[in-house]
């Protein structure tokens, strides 16, 4: 099996799905990169180079867009209701504020408002997270904003294998999907089969088995949680690390089963705490797994602040393996 980065895995998913299904189209700012410009035709292939090589093969099924997120995200949604399977890129998740209506009031609600008579198979690819000193407006997590909204699905891969399988699933899925990629892990490598495969939504992945405490998290934080678990294993504390993979639908069964076994839960989220995915998971367990809990739920999140620019400050903003490990210890000691 070939080693690939997340970047490559997503690119391969696009290649394979575009080849398979002619209704798949891609759009976004600079995803070809260079439309109308005098130089190289496919100069950028997206701000992160995700699309490199696709334009050469699929030509006008890729579209560069003007800087008009409401219009082009809405156009992707409109096209989806008319039989296409568009993947639109919202370059940074932080930009949701200029196009959120199209996502949460239009795409998310069509099927319900129209009495079940619509389907909107659109994927919105976006990049989230801190760690590149991109400051307050280019570093947010914001996954909870989408997860709150009935009618959309929220996907958040942590590794190349999942990135490919979940992207293929997202494209084939008939509901609107927000596909969130952490900007720090594009170059994370892992085994990725060449053939097409998809990963069903709503199935968490137990990335590490353990009997002492359940750590539930997603995206980049999975890596931090695994680091913390390594640290703790040295002291004989065995963590079960649950990679949620999709935030909506959420695999509550796997979380609850794990807590049934461990009796302890720590939720980890790069977002600030209030109304976060961390709070959501904690609340569900406090409701449905309360009798299994032997200690307070631990929550490791960013503080209730914007993301600071200074790398020194940003380091303290993002939950670290140390903080996760400390929280696990506190929970076990409580």
């Amino acid at each position: 099996m070939a080693q690939q980065t997340i970047r490559q895995a997503i690119n391969q998913a696009f290649h394979q799905e575009m080849e398979r299904d002619s209704t798949v189209i891609l759009m976004g700012e600079d995803i070809i990169g260079g439309t109308g410009s005098p130089g190289e035709e496919e100069a950028w292939g997206g701000a992160m180079g995700i699309y490199k090589g696709l334009y050469r093969v699929y030509g006008d099924r890729l579209l560069d867009t003007p800087l008009s997120e409401a219009a082009f995200v809405g156009a992707a949604i409109g096209a989806a209701t008319c039989g296409m399977r568009p993947v639109a890129e919202l370059m940074f998740i932080d930009f949701l504020g200029v196009c959120f209506d199209q996502i949460f009031n239009q795409a998310a609600k069509f099927r319900y408002m129209f009495g079940g008579k619509a389907q909107t198979p659109v994927v919105i690819r976006t990049m989230y997270g801190a760690g590149l000193s991109a400051a307050a407006q280019h570093s947010q997590t914001l996954t909870s904003m989408f997860t709150h909204v009935p009618g959309i699905k929220v996907v958040c891969p942590s590794n190349p294998y999942d990135a490919k399988g979940l992207m293929i699933e997202a494209i084939r899925d008939n509901d609107p999907v927000i596909y969130c990629e952490h900007k720090k892990i594009y170059d994370t490598t892992g085994d990725v089969p060449e053939e097409m495969y998809s990963i069903p939504f709503g199935e968490a992945d137990i990335r590490r088995d353990g009997d002492d405490v359940t750590i539930a998290t997603y995206g980049m934080m999975v890596h931090r949680a695994l680091e913390a678990a390594d640290q703790l294993a040295a002291d004989g504390i065995e963590c079960e690390v649950v990679d949620l993979r999709t935030l909506s639908p959420l695999d509550t069964d796997t979380i609850l089963e794990s807590v049934e076994n461990t009796g302890h839960l720590v939720v980890v989220d790069e977002a600030p705490p209030r109304c976060s995915v961390a709070a959501d998971v904690a609340a569900q367990v406090a409701r449905d797994g309360f009798r299994d809990l032997k200690a307070p739920v631990g929550m490791v999140t960013a503080p209730h602040t914007p993301v600071p620019f200074s790398p020194e400050l940003e380091k303290h903003f993002v939950p670290s393996a140390d903080k996760i490990a400390a929280c696990v210890r506190d929970t076990l000691d409580d």
Binding site: T23, I25, R61, L63, T65, P66, S68, A70, A71, F72, V73, G74, A75, A76, I77, G78, A79, A80, T81, C82, G83, M84, P86, V98, D101, Q102, N105, Q106, F110, R111, Y112, M113, F114, G115, G116, K117, A118, Q119, P150, G151, K153, D173, N174, D175, F201, P249
Partner: protein, 327 residues
Amino acid sequence: MSNDNFPLSRDELLRAYRTMKTIREFEERVHVEFATGDLPGFVHLYAGEEAAATGIMMHLGPNDHIASTHRGHGHCIAKGVDVKGMFAELYGRATGTCRGKGGSMHIADLDMGMMGANGILGAGAPLVCGAALASKYKKDGGVAVSFVGDGASNAGNFLESLNLAAVWDLPAIFVVENNAYAQSTSRDYAVAVDSYVDRAAGFGLPGVTVDGTDFFAVHEAAGEMIARARKGGGPSLLECSMIRFYGHFEGDAQTYRAAGEVEELRANRDCLTRFAQQVAQAGVLEQADLDSVDREVAALIDEGVAEAQQAPHPSEDQVLTDVYVSY
């Protein structure tokens, strides 16, 4: 207008009249029924504006899409959405177009190319760009038409869409239904430019203004734009200046309007009266033709309301269905 080179056939004229009359009677009846308190929610009536929806939709077929506004009944009817289903929807019944889950502001019928009324102003314009884009890929010759009011013509999602449609050279038409008010606020206050032709030009789009109470004027201008778009000639903007007969929504006392304004407009700029005069003058339809349509329409409206009032409410489990396709 002379009979010989009259732009529409007798059948077309009857169809146009039937559509306009159906919209009018639908709205007049909703007005009456709303006052009884039986109709839930917010209702915005299209009465007085019928010629615009009708003149435009006459050019559209099932491959063509429209996205409507909060004032959507007229667009629905003109695009062929079933009137009885619409009444049932307004009453929130299980037999409604959207099974009672959408209501007046969200009637949609994708099978008829009707992408929905919309509670968010301007939000239909991006969707129409998408429908037009899909037609371009599918090469099905479809065009897509977005409706906004004068108020919504200041909304960012609409303005961005004008640019996007031009950049992508989409088969899209942007219709501004200028009825001089956005709620209580005057168009002259809120829209900074005098002519929508200039606003269109700001995005490289050809724009035309017509008297939206003149069915034939709308029909002709829309016909040219739609034909051009169908042939790959790109998007354009059509302003229809028009008249709102009722308040912004049912319940609006309209004290922002001049005394006697509505009465005067109803007397002198009723698009249905005008149509009747035009076809009579040209000798293309008889009063008897119109009368017989009127009877048909009246019967349909009566039946529609009666059936809706008898129709079952959705069952409680319907709260939880239709959120996702997959579960």
